[in-house]
């Protein structure tokens, strides 16, 4: 057997191998960079197209309407208090507005160019200043959705002709109705507040149920439960639950909360309960991982000082695991906030024209509202859909920002 030659690090074969290794590294770095650029491009495309289409939803077109309200007669006292809306409707305010529009905009289409809600703007102005009754004035009122779209540049030829005729009597302003109102059949009057409030109530119920139950379950499973077949089965079941499609939870909610307990249909309460079922396994899994990450030496230290098991858990383990638990919880909540399917199953897809005041009031939620609006025929709802998506994304971003803040705020290093 011959003596092994000493390695020749300068041999051409060795040099080639070295070059190949560097080339592989460069290729890998380029692929990674390309992946990041591609995802950034998709994200930018999504945001730009949403904002471009949805920004119009936050703006409404108004027309300067000359009004003569001297025909509308009403006692001053009836303009005070809760009966004012009814009194003004009874006094023929809507007809007066229509007549004024017919007179002022006859060539452009008369009263048809006004939004269904135009007279409500006049009503609110009168409530603020009863002196408007009995004199001539000019008020900016919202226009019908066709005119609104035409002014933003996507309308029909007829509507665009009307816009040209109206000329500088049209103006633009922030659509406060969109932030304050609920769903409506007329897109100029449709608002997001009803759905947002429904979502917030639903989330409140979900959080109030899923967080304590999930955290306590995670603590029990990690700190107390013996390791045996039963806990193994429970663990596998929880992991499977987290992967169950959300519509199944909707069916479960329908069967249990509506079918068995006869809770009210389309209520935020039932939506919250159903989403809590869906979110709980996520919180349990995140919680268990966070609890597992607490070093055992901390538990030993507390136990060796004579801390009872409950004291070990609540003085040491839970505070140290909390940042991780909170991060997992907020990710679970963000998923629940964007969930549509289970809410459809329990009837939260109804047309709800007033924001819910109580948990049992009929309500809808942001993603469901987006789904409903995207299904509408009217052109005006296209930009409302995009605007609602922007609102949903902003709420989600705020939640994730909160998650990052909480994690940094409570994180302890050891």
């Amino acid at each position: 057997m011959t003596e092994r030659q000493p390695t020749d690090w300068r041999a051409p074969a060795m040099q080639r191998r070295l070059r190949r290794r560097y080339a592989a590294e460069r290729r890998f770095r380029l692929l990674g960079l390309a992946a990041i650029l591609a995802s950034a491009a998709f994200l930018a495309f999504l945001l730009v197209s949403m904002v471009a289409r949805g920004a119009g939803g936050f703006v409404e077109t108004r027309v300067a309407l000359p009004l003569d309200l001297s025909d509308v007669r009403i006692e001053g006292a009836r303009l005070m208090g809760p009966g004012a809306d009814l009194a003004l409707a009874g006094a023929g305010l809507e007809n007066a507005v229509d007549r004024a529009a017919d007179a002022a905009f006859a060539p452009a289409g008369g009263a048809a160019i006004l939004s269904d809600g135009a007279w409500l703007v006049v009503r609110d102005a009168v409530k603020r200043d009863p002196g408007l009754l009995g004199r001539r004035t000019v008020l900016d009122v919202p226009v019908a959705t066709e005119i609104d779209i035409a002014r933003k540049g996507r309308g029909t030829p007829e509507a665009e002709a009307s816009v040209r005729r109206l000329g500088d009597r049209l103006s633009s302003g922030l659509n406060t109705d969109f932030f304050a109102g609920a769903d409506a059949t007329d897109p100029t009057r449709a608002g997001i507040w009803g759905a947002l409030k429904g979502s917030l109530l639903t989330m409140a119920v979900t959080m109030a149920l899923a967080f304590p139950i999930g955290v306590l379950a995670a603590l029990y499973l990690e700190e107390y439960a013996p390791r045996n077949r039963v806990t193994d089965v429970i663990e596998v079941s929880i992991n499977n639950l987290a992967a169950v499609p959300s519509i199944i939870f909707g069916l479960l909610g329908l069967a249990v909360f509506l079918g068995t307990f006869h809770l009210p249909r389309s209520a935020a309460l039932v939506g919250g309960l159903t989403l809590a079922l869906m979110t709980m396994p996520v919180i349990v899994i995140a919680g268990r991982n966070a609890i597992k990450a607490v070093p055992p030496s901390i538990r030993d230290a507390a136990r060796a000082l004579g801390a009872s098991r409950v004291q070990v858990v609540f003085h040491h383990v839970l505070p140290l695991a909390l940042p991780g638990i909170l991060t997992g919880t907020i990710i679970g909540m963000a998923r629940a906030l964007g969930e549509t399917a289970p809410l459809l199953m329990i009837g939260m897809r109804a047309f709800i024209a007033a924001p819910p005041d109580r948990l049992t009031d009929p309500a809808t939620a942001l993603p469901v509202q987006i789904f409903l609006w995207s299904d509408e025929v009217s052109q005006g709802f296209v930009e409302k859909t995009s605007a609602a998506i922007i609102v949903l994304l902003v709420v989600l971003l705020a939640m994730n920002g909160l998650a990052i803040y909480l994690r940094n705020r409570f994180e302890t290093r050891w």
Binding site: P226, R227, P295, S297, I298, R299, D300, A301, A302, R303, A304, L305, G306, A307, S308, Q311, H315, H316, L320, T412, R413, W414
Partner: protein, 254 residues
Amino acid sequence: MTDHAKITAEGVNVFYGAKQAIRNVSLHVRQDEVTAFIGPSGCGKSTFLRTLNRMNDTIAGARVEGDVRLDGEDIYARAMDVVQLRARVGMVFQKPNPFPKSIFENVAYGPRIHGLARSKAELAQIVERSLQRAGLWNEVKDRLSESGTALSGGQQQRLCIARAIAVDPEVILMDEPCSALDPIATARIEELISDLRGRYAIVIVTHNMQQAARVSQKTAFFHLGELVEYGDTSAMFTNPREERTKDYITGRYG
């Protein structure tokens, strides 16, 4: 001998599941002495130490047989309260494990959960006295609100000793307290152990035979779960009775 014994163990067997870790160990720990447990890795010395404050209870599948008494009370009796036992028998671990809280809170935690201080001033007094006894007071008195984890390794270990002292234990168990420390920090801990002798019964597990010789009065040599030899440290290191002890302390194995 029994009249000075703080802890007496008779015929102790410890099992982890089917595996027996400790075989029929009997020994006495005296109130006024430092007792060292030595032996090669895996010989059961740490396991035996943990039977003395029932820390083995927390390990799934661990089972203890035999009779262990603290001041004549059976610590494995049904009537014995584990929480109180662990307050009476403090423990310091191999790796310094301060809580990720302030230095003050680290020491104050024990007295607080056992309700040892009636006022804030009294609690502050306990914290100061404990840190002084642990020889840490002068180094940390101006930064009690800083995190305990920001201290150096040796300081952290002395903080853990102060934390154990703060609940006023009768016995302190130390499980290789210096194995993660540099020689200077080790020397400080050894000094501290000598200072604490007499006030607390101290049991120390160590890999370092010089350390056992320096700090202890009694030494127990464990091998494969058995107590091979137990007696005065000076006698054991100069004139071991057993062949196995002699082989170990002269570095033949282990």
